[in-house]
Symmetry: C2
Subunit: 193 residues, 2 copies
DNA sequence: GTGTATCTTGAACGTACATTCAAAATTAAC
DNA sequence: GTTAATTTTGAATGTACGTTCAAGATACAC
């Protein structure tokens, strides 16, 4: 017997950071060995191959993001102020030069689209779950009397998700941080109106 | 003397279609030779290298899109009905299985981000010009009395561009064509309100 | 018709990549 | 301390890629 020596969560976080920074195909195994500190053989032993490491990273990513999400909305009484911070956290990184700007899910989906059904499916499911989480939150906001019944929580969630995708793409084309902040506020107003 | 034998516009349209379908790095020179009918040497003679062909394709893409845009807005008296068709044309392809779904500019920018300053600059400039074109149209709408003066044409254009980016990304994650149509209408109402 | 400049052809080259594997190192059990 | 099981190591492998180039084909000028 002998157990693995590396910290799996740490390895996956380093891997996801690398995938986010370079994209899937431009993330070479060499970059991954450097980022994770693991040798090729260890990666293949633990995750089967590069795609396996991506899928494991995606899983970890979703787990981390979910925890953040739950925590944020548990901390706030009203949905509006939680969503304000949520959107702010999305826009914020674009002011600095962090590698964590982009969303691993959408970035990878855009790159892989139509080339690998398994990965596409996993990413779609995760993004779908994200929309569902937002819908639940908006549903709660309705029951708390924060927002009306039309548009429905589902329709509001869809518009919000679309807006978030748009915000991220817009941010990658522009350095106008003020505009980003304005757009995110405008988006929130529209969704909660 | 001897002039080139291929139709440059046709070659570039085939190339851009391939880049859109597979993304830049997954578009091999072999795929490009098959798509364009040109041999490797001819491509390198005419466009220097793969990146040169991408840049030429982007230029052609922007030229084509611009002509469509000008024509569409010249055909309609009021801006609203032109924008309705414009958004419809964006959402439409996602119902079918066309390779022309995605935007060559945003797809390539997302993939190449931070890896090639020249390409990034060209793509950013083109996307900026796209926003400016929308701003001009919205400015015209204001002068024609279709919309008010606040938010400004610039702010409206930014929100619309964000929405279009979001629509495209959302479309790549969902098969709900009805939702897409609803989102595009909701977006337009918000922008023209 | 001849010459010449230019384009076309596609095989060949070097490189970078994902992956494999056998040997070495490490751990845990008894 | 010895053994057995598992992981770590990193060089080696095969493949796919972007690119080059020299030979051949073609069109124009005179």
């Amino acid at each position: 017997m002998r157990s693995a020596e590396f910290d799996k969560e740490h390895v996956l976080r380093q891997a996801m950071r690398t995938f986010m920074q370079y994209g899937y195909s431009k993330t070479s195994m060499q970059k991954l060995t450097e980022a994770t500190g693991l040798h090729p053989g260890s990666i293949y032993c633990a995750f089967k191959n590069k795609k396996g490491l991506l899928l494991a990273s995606v899983e970890q990513y979703q787990k981390d993001k979910n925890e953040q999400f739950e925590q944020l909305f548990a901390q706030h009484q009203n949905v509006r102020s939680a969503l304000e911070i949520f959107l702010q956290d999305i826009v914020q990184p674009y002011a600095s030069n962090e590698a964590t700007k982009v969303c691993l899910l959408t970035r990878t989906l855009s790159e892989i689209d139509g080339q690998d059904d398994e990965v596409t499916q996993v990413l779609s499911n995760n993004l779908c779950a994200f929309e569902q989480a937002l819908q639940n939150v908006l549903s709660k906001a309705h029951h708390c009397g924060e927002i009306g019944s039309t548009p429905s929580a589902k329709e509001r969630a869809q518009f919000l998700v679309m807006g978030i995708y748009g915000l991220r793409t817009y941010a990658s084309t522009s350095n106008d941080q003020q505009a980003l902040v304005r757009l995110s506020k405008q988006l929130l107003e529209h969704v909660l109106q």
